[in-house]
Symmetry: C2
Subunit: 245 residues, 2 copies
Protein backbone atom coordinates (compact mmCIF):
# COMPACT_ATOMS: atom_id res chain seq x y z
CA UNK A 1 0.00 0.00 0.00
CA UNK A 2 1.21 3.43 -0.85
CA UNK A 3 2.25 5.62 2.09
CA UNK A 4 0.10 8.64 2.86
CA UNK A 5 0.77 11.57 0.54
CA UNK A 6 0.88 15.25 1.36
CA UNK A 7 -1.57 16.39 -1.27
CA UNK A 8 -0.35 19.92 -1.81
CA UNK A 9 3.42 19.43 -1.69
CA UNK A 10 5.44 17.75 -4.40
CA UNK A 11 9.02 17.37 -5.48
CA UNK A 12 9.95 17.89 -9.13
CA UNK A 13 13.28 16.72 -10.48
CA UNK A 14 15.28 18.27 -13.27
CA UNK A 15 17.44 15.35 -14.33
CA UNK A 16 20.46 16.67 -16.20
CA UNK A 17 22.43 14.14 -18.17
CA UNK A 18 25.53 14.82 -20.17
CA UNK A 19 25.83 12.88 -23.39
CA UNK A 20 29.52 12.44 -23.98
CA UNK A 21 29.04 11.41 -27.60
CA UNK A 22 26.93 14.29 -28.77
CA UNK A 23 28.56 16.64 -26.23
CA UNK A 24 25.15 17.79 -25.17
CA UNK A 25 23.65 18.67 -21.80
CA UNK A 26 20.25 17.03 -21.75
CA UNK A 27 17.17 16.97 -19.54
CA UNK A 28 15.10 13.85 -18.96
CA UNK A 29 11.40 14.47 -19.59
CA UNK A 30 8.23 12.43 -19.44
CA UNK A 31 5.52 12.35 -22.06
CA UNK A 32 2.13 13.66 -21.02
CA UNK A 33 -0.66 12.52 -23.30
CA UNK A 34 -4.42 12.56 -23.01
CA UNK A 35 -7.07 12.15 -25.67
CA UNK A 36 -10.78 12.84 -25.36
CA UNK A 37 -13.03 9.90 -24.52
CA UNK A 38 -13.93 9.24 -28.12
CA UNK A 39 -10.22 9.50 -28.93
CA UNK A 40 -10.88 12.07 -31.61
CA UNK A 41 -9.33 15.01 -29.92
CA UNK A 42 -5.91 15.27 -28.39
CA UNK A 43 -6.34 17.17 -25.17
CA UNK A 44 -2.82 17.10 -23.82
CA UNK A 45 0.37 16.20 -25.66
CA UNK A 46 3.56 17.57 -24.20
CA UNK A 47 6.29 16.83 -21.70
CA UNK A 48 6.82 17.35 -17.98
CA UNK A 49 9.48 16.82 -15.36
CA UNK A 50 9.41 13.72 -13.24
CA UNK A 51 7.99 14.40 -9.81
CA UNK A 52 5.65 13.17 -7.12
CA UNK A 53 3.99 14.05 -3.88
CA UNK A 54 5.97 14.07 -0.69
CA UNK A 55 4.97 11.26 1.65
CA UNK A 56 3.96 12.13 5.20
CA UNK A 57 6.90 10.33 6.74
CA UNK A 58 9.78 11.22 4.46
CA UNK A 59 12.11 14.16 4.05
CA UNK A 60 12.14 16.26 0.92
CA UNK A 61 15.53 14.80 0.00
CA UNK A 62 14.10 11.33 0.32
CA UNK A 63 11.24 12.23 -1.98
CA UNK A 64 13.67 13.43 -4.62
CA UNK A 65 15.78 10.29 -4.29
CA UNK A 66 12.72 8.11 -4.57
CA UNK A 67 11.41 9.93 -7.64
CA UNK A 68 14.74 9.57 -9.43
CA UNK A 69 15.01 5.93 -8.55
CA UNK A 70 11.53 5.12 -9.80
CA UNK A 71 12.22 6.66 -13.17
CA UNK A 72 15.82 5.60 -13.73
CA UNK A 73 16.66 2.94 -11.18
CA UNK A 74 19.61 5.08 -10.13
CA UNK A 75 20.59 6.01 -6.59
CA UNK A 76 23.49 7.98 -5.14
CA UNK A 77 23.53 10.60 -7.85
CA UNK A 78 24.44 14.22 -7.23
CA UNK A 79 21.31 16.01 -6.09
CA UNK A 80 20.55 19.61 -5.23
CA UNK A 81 17.43 21.26 -3.93
CA UNK A 82 17.51 24.61 -5.66
CA UNK A 83 14.14 26.32 -5.34
CA UNK A 84 10.50 26.04 -4.32
CA UNK A 85 7.78 27.04 -6.75
CA UNK A 86 4.42 27.91 -5.24
CA UNK A 87 2.62 30.52 -7.29
CA UNK A 88 -1.16 30.10 -6.95
CA UNK A 89 -1.51 29.92 -10.73
CA UNK A 90 1.40 27.65 -11.54
CA UNK A 91 -0.82 24.69 -12.54
CA UNK A 92 -3.58 26.74 -14.10
CA UNK A 93 -2.98 26.57 -17.83
CA UNK A 94 -6.00 25.04 -19.60
CA UNK A 95 -4.14 21.84 -20.44
CA UNK A 96 -2.84 21.54 -16.91
CA UNK A 97 -6.34 21.81 -15.49
CA UNK A 98 -7.57 19.05 -17.79
CA UNK A 99 -4.63 16.92 -16.78
CA UNK A 100 -5.02 17.48 -13.07
CA UNK A 101 -8.73 16.64 -13.26
CA UNK A 102 -7.64 13.34 -14.70
CA UNK A 103 -4.94 12.69 -12.14
CA UNK A 104 -6.09 13.88 -8.72
CA UNK A 105 -3.87 16.35 -7.04
CA UNK A 106 -4.36 19.83 -5.74
CA UNK A 107 -4.49 22.82 -8.03
CA UNK A 108 -2.58 24.73 -5.40
CA UNK A 109 0.45 22.52 -5.07
CA UNK A 110 3.80 23.88 -4.04
CA UNK A 111 6.72 21.99 -5.49
CA UNK A 112 10.23 21.73 -4.17
CA UNK A 113 12.49 21.51 -7.20
CA UNK A 114 15.70 19.49 -7.30
CA UNK A 115 18.21 18.87 -9.99
CA UNK A 116 20.34 15.80 -10.53
CA UNK A 117 23.60 15.44 -12.41
CA UNK A 118 24.43 12.17 -14.14
CA UNK A 119 25.42 10.61 -17.45
CA UNK A 120 22.82 9.89 -20.11
CA UNK A 121 24.45 6.53 -20.74
CA UNK A 122 23.57 5.45 -17.19
CA UNK A 123 19.86 5.67 -17.93
CA UNK A 124 18.04 3.06 -19.95
CA UNK A 125 15.33 5.25 -21.42
CA UNK A 126 13.47 2.37 -23.07
CA UNK A 127 13.25 0.36 -19.91
CA UNK A 128 11.10 2.82 -18.00
CA UNK A 129 7.36 2.36 -17.77
CA UNK A 130 6.85 6.03 -18.35
CA UNK A 131 7.77 7.39 -21.76
CA UNK A 132 10.94 9.19 -20.80
CA UNK A 133 13.18 10.96 -23.26
CA UNK A 134 16.28 13.13 -23.26
CA UNK A 135 16.14 16.65 -24.68
CA UNK A 136 19.01 19.12 -25.06
CA UNK A 137 18.54 21.87 -22.50
CA UNK A 138 18.89 24.36 -25.32
CA UNK A 139 16.15 22.74 -27.37
CA UNK A 140 13.29 21.79 -25.10
CA UNK A 141 9.90 20.56 -26.31
CA UNK A 142 6.56 22.02 -25.23
CA UNK A 143 6.33 21.68 -21.48
CA UNK A 144 3.40 21.41 -19.09
CA UNK A 145 2.78 23.27 -15.84
CA UNK A 146 5.54 25.76 -15.00
CA UNK A 147 8.20 23.21 -15.83
CA UNK A 148 9.94 25.27 -18.47
CA UNK A 149 10.58 27.91 -15.85
CA UNK A 150 11.80 25.31 -13.40
CA UNK A 151 14.24 23.84 -15.91
CA UNK A 152 15.63 27.21 -16.88
CA UNK A 153 16.16 28.20 -13.26
CA UNK A 154 17.88 24.89 -12.56
CA UNK A 155 20.10 25.47 -15.56
CA UNK A 156 21.04 28.95 -14.33
CA UNK A 157 21.91 27.56 -10.94
CA UNK A 158 24.01 24.83 -12.52
CA UNK A 159 25.88 27.33 -14.67
CA UNK A 160 26.84 29.40 -11.67
CA UNK A 161 27.62 26.45 -9.46
CA UNK A 162 29.88 24.68 -11.94
CA UNK A 163 32.17 27.70 -11.94
CA UNK A 164 33.01 27.41 -8.28
CA UNK A 165 32.51 23.76 -7.37
CA UNK A 166 33.81 20.59 -8.99
CA UNK A 167 30.34 19.26 -9.82
CA UNK A 168 31.24 18.97 -13.47
CA UNK A 169 32.75 15.55 -12.75
CA UNK A 170 29.32 14.24 -11.76
CA UNK A 171 28.43 14.51 -15.44
CA UNK A 172 31.43 12.45 -16.55
CA UNK A 173 32.57 8.86 -16.11
CA UNK A 174 35.06 8.22 -13.29
CA UNK A 175 37.86 8.14 -15.84
CA UNK A 176 37.86 10.98 -18.31
CA UNK A 177 40.13 12.86 -20.65
CA UNK A 178 40.93 16.54 -20.28
CA UNK A 179 39.12 17.31 -23.51
CA UNK A 180 35.99 15.67 -22.24
CA UNK A 181 35.96 18.00 -19.26
CA UNK A 182 36.39 20.90 -21.62
CA UNK A 183 33.47 19.63 -23.69
CA UNK A 184 31.23 19.65 -20.64
CA UNK A 185 32.12 23.20 -19.69
CA UNK A 186 31.65 24.41 -23.23
CA UNK A 187 28.33 22.71 -23.52
CA UNK A 188 26.97 23.94 -20.20
CA UNK A 189 28.21 27.49 -20.48
CA UNK A 190 27.80 27.83 -24.23
CA UNK A 191 31.31 29.20 -24.62
CA UNK A 192 34.54 28.26 -26.38
CA UNK A 193 37.57 27.59 -24.25
CA UNK A 194 41.21 27.63 -25.35
CA UNK A 195 42.41 24.06 -25.15
CA UNK A 196 46.01 24.77 -24.16
CA UNK A 197 45.09 27.09 -21.35
CA UNK A 198 42.36 24.80 -20.11
CA UNK A 199 44.67 21.78 -20.11
CA UNK A 200 47.35 23.53 -18.15
CA UNK A 201 44.89 24.83 -15.63
CA UNK A 202 43.26 21.46 -15.05
CA UNK A 203 46.41 19.38 -14.98
CA UNK A 204 47.92 21.70 -12.40
CA UNK A 205 45.10 21.00 -9.95
CA UNK A 206 46.31 18.54 -7.38
CA UNK A 207 42.96 16.83 -7.25
CA UNK A 208 43.09 15.93 -10.95
CA UNK A 209 45.03 12.70 -11.04
CA UNK A 210 46.65 11.25 -14.15
CA UNK A 211 46.01 7.54 -14.45
CA UNK A 212 48.19 4.87 -16.05
CA UNK A 213 45.53 4.42 -18.65
CA UNK A 214 44.50 5.63 -22.03
CA UNK A 215 41.22 5.50 -23.86
CA UNK A 216 40.49 2.21 -25.58
CA UNK A 217 38.36 1.51 -28.62
CA UNK A 218 38.70 4.92 -30.18
CA UNK A 219 39.64 5.22 -33.83
CA UNK A 220 42.30 7.86 -33.32
CA UNK A 221 45.00 8.73 -30.88
CA UNK A 222 43.72 7.54 -27.51
CA UNK A 223 43.67 10.23 -24.84
CA UNK A 224 45.31 10.09 -21.44
CA UNK A 225 42.78 9.42 -18.71
CA UNK A 226 42.41 11.27 -15.43
CA UNK A 227 40.28 11.03 -12.34
CA UNK A 228 38.95 13.54 -9.83
CA UNK A 229 39.93 13.00 -6.20
CA UNK A 230 37.25 14.30 -3.89
CA UNK A 231 39.48 13.48 -0.92
CA UNK A 232 42.24 15.78 -2.06
CA UNK A 233 39.78 18.46 -3.09
CA UNK A 234 38.14 18.44 0.33
CA UNK A 235 41.46 18.60 2.10
CA UNK A 236 42.44 21.65 0.14
CA UNK A 237 39.44 23.38 1.73
CA UNK A 238 38.89 25.34 -1.36
CA UNK A 239 37.44 28.49 0.18
CA UNK A 240 39.84 31.24 -0.66
CA UNK A 241 37.37 34.12 -0.23
CA UNK A 242 38.23 35.87 -3.44
CA UNK A 243 35.86 38.80 -3.69
CA UNK A 244 35.10 39.13 -7.37
CA UNK A 245 31.79 40.95 -7.46
Amino acid sequence: MEPEKILNISVDCVVFGFDINTKSLNVLLIKRFLASENKEEILVDDYVLTGYHVYKEETLDETATRVLKELTGLTNQYKKQFKAFGNPDRLMNPKDIIWIKNEAFHLRTTTIAYYFLLKTEDVDVNNSKKQAKWFPVTNLPELGFDHKKIILEAYEDLKIKCLSEPIIFKLLPDKFSINEVQDVYQSILGIEIDNRNFRRKLINKKYIIALDEKQVGVSKKPAQLYMFSKDIYDKMFSKNYLISM
Copy 2:
Protein backbone atom coordinates in the same frame (compact mmCIF):
# COMPACT_ATOMS: atom_id res chain seq x y z
CA MET B 1 -11.01 38.93 7.93
CA GLU B 2 -7.82 37.01 7.42
CA PRO B 3 -7.38 35.33 4.04
CA GLU B 4 -7.45 31.55 3.95
CA LYS B 5 -4.20 29.97 5.05
CA ILE B 6 -2.44 26.93 3.65
CA LEU B 7 -2.06 25.08 6.90
CA ASN B 8 1.02 23.02 6.13
CA ILE B 9 3.14 25.54 4.23
CA SER B 10 4.85 28.51 5.80
CA VAL B 11 7.52 31.03 5.00
CA ASP B 12 10.26 31.76 7.51
CA CYS B 13 12.45 34.82 7.19
CA VAL B 14 16.05 35.18 8.28
CA VAL B 15 16.33 38.95 8.60
CA PHE B 16 19.99 39.91 8.43
CA GLY B 17 20.83 43.40 9.55
CA PHE B 18 24.25 44.95 9.57
CA ASP B 19 24.99 47.23 12.50
CA ILE B 20 27.43 49.77 11.20
CA ASN B 21 28.37 50.93 14.69
CA THR B 22 29.22 47.61 16.23
CA LYS B 23 30.31 46.25 12.86
CA SER B 24 28.21 43.19 13.47
CA LEU B 25 26.03 41.07 11.21
CA ASN B 26 22.86 40.46 13.18
CA VAL B 27 19.71 38.37 12.86
CA LEU B 28 16.30 39.62 13.94
CA LEU B 29 14.55 37.12 16.22
CA ILE B 30 11.25 36.93 18.06
CA LYS B 31 10.77 35.90 21.65
CA ARG B 32 8.78 32.74 22.27
CA PHE B 33 7.48 32.47 25.81
CA LEU B 34 4.91 30.23 27.45
CA ALA B 35 4.30 29.52 31.14
CA SER B 36 2.13 26.79 32.60
CA GLU B 37 -1.42 27.74 33.57
CA ASN B 38 -0.54 28.37 37.17
CA LYS B 39 2.41 30.43 35.94
CA GLU B 40 4.82 28.46 38.08
CA GLU B 41 6.62 26.67 35.34
CA ILE B 42 8.22 28.14 32.27
CA LEU B 43 7.38 25.80 29.42
CA VAL B 44 8.94 27.64 26.52
CA ASP B 45 11.43 30.48 26.62
CA ASP B 46 13.54 30.95 23.55
CA TYR B 47 13.64 32.69 20.17
CA VAL B 48 12.39 31.92 16.68
CA LEU B 49 12.49 33.41 13.21
CA THR B 50 9.61 35.50 12.01
CA GLY B 51 7.33 33.58 9.68
CA TYR B 52 3.78 32.77 8.81
CA HIS B 53 1.56 30.56 6.74
CA VAL B 54 1.24 31.11 3.03
CA TYR B 55 -2.20 32.41 2.05
CA LYS B 56 -4.15 30.52 -0.60
CA GLU B 57 -4.02 33.38 -3.05
CA GLU B 58 -0.50 34.69 -2.74
CA THR B 59 2.90 33.72 -4.10
CA LEU B 60 5.71 32.59 -1.81
CA ASP B 61 7.55 35.84 -2.49
CA GLU B 62 4.47 37.77 -1.43
CA THR B 63 4.29 35.82 1.80
CA ALA B 64 7.87 36.70 2.60
CA THR B 65 7.31 40.35 1.81
CA ARG B 66 4.20 40.41 3.97
CA VAL B 67 5.94 38.73 6.90
CA LEU B 68 8.80 41.22 6.81
CA LYS B 69 6.47 44.15 6.56
CA GLU B 70 4.39 43.04 9.53
CA LEU B 71 7.41 42.76 11.75
CA THR B 72 9.44 45.76 10.61
CA GLY B 73 7.18 47.95 8.50
CA LEU B 74 9.79 47.72 5.74
CA THR B 75 9.17 46.92 2.10
CA ASN B 76 11.44 46.74 -0.94
CA GLN B 77 14.33 45.12 0.88
CA TYR B 78 16.67 42.61 -0.74
CA LYS B 79 15.05 39.20 -0.44
CA LYS B 80 16.18 35.74 -1.43
CA GLN B 81 14.42 32.41 -1.25
CA PHE B 82 17.24 30.05 -0.41
CA LYS B 83 15.86 26.71 0.72
CA ALA B 84 12.82 24.67 1.74
CA PHE B 85 12.84 22.76 5.00
CA GLY B 86 10.40 19.90 5.26
CA ASN B 87 11.74 17.13 7.43
CA PRO B 88 8.86 15.26 9.12
CA ASP B 89 10.43 15.85 12.53
CA ARG B 90 11.43 19.48 12.15
CA LEU B 91 8.81 20.75 14.63
CA MET B 92 8.98 17.80 16.96
CA ASN B 93 11.17 18.90 19.85
CA PRO B 94 9.22 18.74 23.13
CA LYS B 95 9.05 22.50 23.47
CA ASP B 96 7.93 22.89 19.89
CA ILE B 97 5.09 20.44 20.41
CA ILE B 98 3.88 22.36 23.45
CA TRP B 99 4.08 25.56 21.50
CA ILE B 100 2.27 24.24 18.46
CA LYS B 101 -0.53 22.86 20.62
CA ASN B 102 -0.96 26.40 21.89
CA GLU B 103 -0.86 28.01 18.47
CA ALA B 104 -2.66 25.79 15.98
CA PHE B 105 -0.68 24.79 13.00
CA HIS B 106 0.33 21.50 11.52
CA LEU B 107 3.11 19.40 13.00
CA ARG B 108 4.11 18.49 9.46
CA THR B 109 4.65 21.94 8.04
CA THR B 110 7.09 22.58 5.24
CA THR B 111 8.65 26.00 5.35
CA ILE B 112 10.12 27.97 2.50
CA ALA B 113 13.00 29.97 3.96
CA TYR B 114 13.99 33.43 2.79
CA TYR B 115 16.64 35.80 3.92
CA PHE B 116 16.55 39.58 3.85
CA LEU B 117 19.43 42.05 3.85
CA LEU B 118 18.99 45.42 5.49
CA LYS B 119 20.42 47.82 8.07
CA THR B 120 19.65 47.35 11.75
CA GLU B 121 19.13 51.09 12.04
CA ASP B 122 16.15 50.87 9.67
CA VAL B 123 14.23 48.70 12.14
CA ASP B 124 12.59 50.12 15.21
CA VAL B 125 12.79 47.08 17.45
CA ASN B 126 10.79 48.62 20.27
CA ASN B 127 7.91 49.57 18.06
CA SER B 128 6.95 46.05 17.10
CA LYS B 129 4.14 44.27 18.88
CA LYS B 130 6.19 41.11 18.99
CA GLN B 131 9.27 41.11 21.16
CA ALA B 132 11.88 41.30 18.44
CA LYS B 133 15.58 41.56 19.09
CA TRP B 134 18.84 41.58 17.13
CA PHE B 135 21.46 38.91 17.79
CA PRO B 136 24.90 38.62 16.22
CA VAL B 137 24.87 35.71 13.81
CA THR B 138 27.94 34.37 15.58
CA ASN B 139 26.27 34.48 18.97
CA LEU B 140 22.72 33.22 18.66
CA PRO B 141 20.43 32.50 21.61
CA GLU B 142 18.54 29.26 22.12
CA LEU B 143 16.30 28.74 19.14
CA GLY B 144 13.03 26.89 18.63
CA PHE B 145 12.06 24.49 15.85
CA ASP B 146 14.83 23.93 13.32
CA HIS B 147 15.53 27.63 13.13
CA LYS B 148 19.16 27.41 14.11
CA LYS B 149 19.76 25.20 11.13
CA ILE B 150 17.84 27.57 8.89
CA ILE B 151 19.86 30.57 10.05
CA LEU B 152 23.16 28.82 9.56
CA GLU B 153 22.25 27.70 6.07
CA ALA B 154 21.13 31.22 5.20
CA TYR B 155 24.42 32.53 6.50
CA GLU B 156 26.39 30.05 4.39
CA ASP B 157 24.46 31.10 1.32
CA LEU B 158 25.07 34.75 2.09
CA LYS B 159 28.81 34.17 2.52
CA ILE B 160 29.09 32.55 -0.88
CA LYS B 161 26.80 34.99 -2.62
CA CYS B 162 28.51 38.11 -1.33
CA LEU B 163 31.72 36.99 -3.02
CA SER B 164 30.26 37.08 -6.48
CA GLU B 165 27.41 39.58 -6.34
CA PRO B 166 27.26 43.13 -5.05
CA ILE B 167 24.67 42.37 -2.39
CA ILE B 168 26.94 43.74 0.30
CA PHE B 169 25.62 47.21 -0.44
CA LYS B 170 22.15 46.14 0.66
CA LEU B 171 23.58 46.03 4.17
CA LEU B 172 24.92 49.58 3.98
CA PRO B 173 23.40 53.05 3.67
CA ASP B 174 23.25 54.51 0.16
CA LYS B 175 26.29 56.61 0.94
CA PHE B 176 29.16 54.74 2.52
CA SER B 177 32.90 54.92 3.01
CA ILE B 178 35.32 52.36 1.64
CA ASN B 179 36.22 51.25 5.14
CA GLU B 180 32.60 50.54 5.94
CA VAL B 181 32.39 48.16 3.00
CA GLN B 182 35.52 46.48 4.26
CA ASP B 183 33.94 46.18 7.70
CA VAL B 184 30.94 44.38 6.25
CA TYR B 185 33.07 41.88 4.36
CA GLN B 186 35.24 41.24 7.38
CA SER B 187 32.25 40.75 9.61
CA ILE B 188 30.39 38.44 7.25
CA LEU B 189 33.36 36.34 6.25
CA GLY B 190 35.19 36.48 9.56
CA ILE B 191 38.45 37.44 7.88
CA GLU B 192 40.89 40.32 7.91
CA ILE B 193 41.42 42.24 4.69
CA ASP B 194 44.37 44.45 3.81
CA ASN B 195 43.01 47.97 3.69
CA ARG B 196 45.26 49.29 0.92
CA ASN B 197 44.56 46.42 -1.44
CA PHE B 198 40.87 46.50 -0.70
CA ARG B 199 40.63 50.25 -1.31
CA ARG B 200 42.41 50.07 -4.62
CA LYS B 201 40.27 47.20 -5.77
CA LEU B 202 37.00 48.85 -4.84
CA ILE B 203 37.83 52.32 -6.09
CA ASN B 204 38.83 50.89 -9.46
CA LYS B 205 35.37 49.44 -9.99
CA LYS B 206 33.45 51.70 -12.34
CA TYR B 207 30.22 51.10 -10.45
CA ILE B 208 31.66 52.52 -7.22
CA ILE B 209 31.13 56.25 -7.53
CA ALA B 210 32.93 58.86 -5.45
CA LEU B 211 30.55 61.52 -4.19
CA ASP B 212 31.27 65.17 -3.44
CA GLU B 213 30.57 64.45 0.18
CA LYS B 214 32.31 63.45 3.34
CA GLN B 215 31.03 61.96 6.53
CA VAL B 216 29.54 64.49 8.95
CA GLY B 217 29.29 64.37 12.70
CA VAL B 218 32.21 62.08 13.26
CA SER B 219 34.80 62.95 15.87
CA LYS B 220 37.77 62.22 13.64
CA LYS B 221 38.84 62.67 10.08
CA PRO B 222 35.66 62.33 8.02
CA ALA B 223 35.83 59.74 5.26
CA GLN B 224 35.09 60.24 1.60
CA LEU B 225 31.68 58.86 0.69
CA TYR B 226 30.85 56.63 -2.25
CA MET B 227 27.76 55.07 -3.75
CA PHE B 228 27.05 51.90 -5.67
CA SER B 229 25.55 52.27 -9.12
CA LYS B 230 23.40 49.32 -9.98
CA ASP B 231 22.86 50.74 -13.44
CA ILE B 232 26.53 50.67 -14.29
CA TYR B 233 26.98 47.29 -12.67
CA ASP B 234 24.16 45.78 -14.72
CA LYS B 235 25.51 47.25 -17.92
CA MET B 236 28.90 45.69 -17.31
CA PHE B 237 27.14 42.32 -17.54
CA SER B 238 29.37 40.91 -14.96
CA LYS B 239 29.43 37.28 -16.11
CA ASN B 240 32.98 36.52 -17.09
CA TYR B 241 32.78 32.75 -16.69
CA LEU B 242 35.93 32.37 -14.68
CA ILE B 243 36.21 28.73 -13.75
CA SER B 244 37.72 28.65 -10.30
CA MET B 245 36.67 25.32 -8.89
